[in-house]
Amino acid sequence: MGRTADIASTQADLTAVPSAPPSRRVLALLVDALILALVGVISIWQLGLRLLDDYSDIPELALAWVFIAVAPAAIVIIMVVDAVRIGQTPGMAAAGVRTIHDGTTKRTLPTGDPRVPEPGIPALWRDVRVLRLAGQALAAVVVVALIRWMFHNLIVRMDEVGLPKDFDFLDAAYGVALRDAYGFDVADPVWKALLVGLQNTAVASVVGIFIATVVGLFVGIARLSSNWLVAKGASLYVESLRNIPPLVVIIFFGAALFTYGPFPAWAVSRGHFPWQGRWPGSENNWIIISAERWAIPSLGSNDNVGLFWLLVLATAAVAAGVWVWRTRYNNATGNPHHRVLWSVGVFAVIVAACFAALGGPYSWSWPGVSDNGRRVVGGFSTNSGYMALTLGLGLYTASFVAEIIRGSILAVPKGQGEAATSVALKSSQRYRHVVLPQAQRIAIPPYISECANLIKNTSLGLAVAYPDLFLVAVTAWGINFPAPQLILIIMIVYLTMNLIVSALLNMYNRSIQLKER
């Protein structure tokens, strides 16, 4: 009660407040100057000179920086902030001068004046602002010192072993043959080998993600089925693949497909000829399986391929037109549009007609076996490593994607389904218009993580001799190319790939976000 009266009387006659005597102000200025000079000398001496030192002083200096570099910086910052904001400095506090700041003007008072309101300036070592700044500066110093120490160790070690510290090795000849790398020669430079590795990683990632998504969607929804057998089968799939390390899954598929299992090891080295699948009475192989590679027929292009693809493009435009037409039809009459069926059907029919009319712009290239079974020629062949990696990794990641999808469908609030039922929507309509759109919004962030995981897991191709980026780099490492630079390159490449995928999917995610106030 009395205090408010005091404050009221204080504010009432601010105009009549006297200032601090000049002697005190001069004393305050001297003290401030002394503090700043001290801070300046220490800072310039320690920070300026020592930062330019070589690395050998770093471990000892880390602690020294705490006491000599951090505190002065914090002190200077606090002094400046206080001087600007409330017109008070440590010198003034030491000289016994106080400031009233009523929001528009500052007036200084000598000590002892009963109208002085709080706050004063606390001692520097108790000032929470100083402590906060000091803490952050300390953390920064420790981190920098640690990094510089580790880097220093690396440099010293590299010098001892004789490794170059630059990136010139990228132009040196790689010297090792890469499996299935068409157009790559052992004399080609390292950067080209890494590029081949990157291509292989990208191919395995794309195909793996495709398999994972399609199979995962199917299994995820199957697990929610009311058909007991289907649901239990999907559960079995998910639980078995999810709980085994991905490396084991990949090696299992490699072994099952190419060494043991239902497809015997048709390897010349074991005295077996590659298995050739043929239609009875035909000369052509439609599939060749060996322990090394599989081959299927491929399309070789003839002369009028260019025209064919132009026609395909035109047909795509027609199909888009059909899509729009069916949508308009649905808007106008209310009958179901079936636009996917219509567009795809029209597209397929017209493309088939073009194919026939042009006399087949493509001809089959049949795979064959040569060199007494040692080589597969023609057709489209993939090596066992690729098959094991993409299949194994795709099916492994599919189990996670299935759980994401199942979880996202279950996470849609039950009331949504009830509301859809109460407007008489059928089960399929309910899923399509209400449940799945909301489920997709829930599923996409974890799905992005799974895609990133798959891309990273392609590095396991090492175990099945698939020449992905990691294997190429590790091989280079093994033939004495500098490891730190190689590892840096691989890390940056994987990081970039994942960031690109994540950015694209996040863009999509943002575009479908629910709008709220």
């Binding site: 649905n330 209310g334 609030p413 009331g415 949504q416 509301a419 909301q438």
Partner: protein, 263 residues
């Protein structure tokens, strides 16, 4: 059914009419169990066309279960439910027919958050009634005007207030042109200022002669709009009556106890 003794005061299960109206809902001997817990026991209730029935009772009394059994959001274990002459059995065709005749408004609104208000309202008519887009949207705008929020048509439910959302939910149910509207505590999730705007809409519906079954705690609304008030407790119908008699002079002790606590 004609020789089932009726134990619920005020309900005559022999009747084919109630107060001169033909029956649109008949429930006889309905039981519903959740595991071993009996949520509804021996419910006999008949509702006439155009009647406004308000169901009140303490929580856990089975009021929501009762109306959810009518449009098959819950599956009754025993007894018979007939809606507009169609018996509610496991036959999917019957269920679909009944769901088209009934519209439901939920306590939590349950609007589709990924669709605009107008898409929310037109989803049912376009997909189920096969209405062309323009016609469906015109009807939707009419309904939005009826619930007094036509300017919100292109907004998303997340951008509306609670009262507006509930009115959109009412419009969505009305878009299917149902014969019966079921309200499951429509105002319980709203704050007091918005309750009145929603109740106004429901009152207006009642005046147009639509059959309404409203589960609510709003006694003022019950007094004003109801043709009959049903009091439920512990899964049973305890008392039924006209609002004037019901609130001033209830017959059963349990009813008196409940009313004394809330009025």
């Amino acid at each position: 059914m004609t020789d089932t003794p009726t134990t619920t005061p005020g309900v005559n299960s022999d009747a084919t009419q109630i107060g001169g109206r033909s029956l649109i809902i008949e429930m006889a001997g309905v039981d519903k169990f959740f595991g071993t817990f009996q949520a509804l026991s021996n419910i006999d209730m008949n509702v006439g066309t155009g009647e406004v029935v308000v169901v009140i009772g303490p929580s856990g009394s089975g009021k929501s279960t009762l109306i959810r059994c009518i449009n098959r959001l819950e599956h009754h274990d025993r007894g018979r439910i007939v809606v507009d002459g169609v018996e509610l059995t496991d036959d999917v065709r019957n269920i679909a027919l009944i769901r088209r005749e009934t519209g439901m408004v939920f306590q939590q609104f349950n609007l589709f958050p990924h669709l605009t208000v107008i898409d929310n309202i037109t989803l049912g008519p376009r997909q189920v009634l096969k209405m062309p887009k323009k016609q469906a949207e015109d009807r939707a705008m009419e309904l939005l005007e009826r619930v007094k929020i036509p300017e919100q048509a292109r907004k998303f439910p997340g951008q509306l207030s609670g009262g507006q959302q509930q009115r959109v939910a009412i419009a969505r149910s009305l878009a299917m042109q149902p014969k019966i509207m079921l309200f499951d505590e429509p105002t319980s999730a709203l704050d007091p200022e918005m309750i009145s705007e929603v109740l106004e809409v429901i009152l207006e519906l009642a005046k147009t002669g639509m059959t309404l079954i409203v589960v609510t705690h709003e006694m003022g609304f019950a007094r004003e709009a109801a043709d009959r008030v049903i009091f439920m407790a512990d899964g049973e119908i305890v008392e039924v009556g006209e609002p004037e008699h019901f609130f001033t002079n209830p017959r059963e002790e349990r009813t008196r106890l409940f009313l004394s606590q809330i009025l």
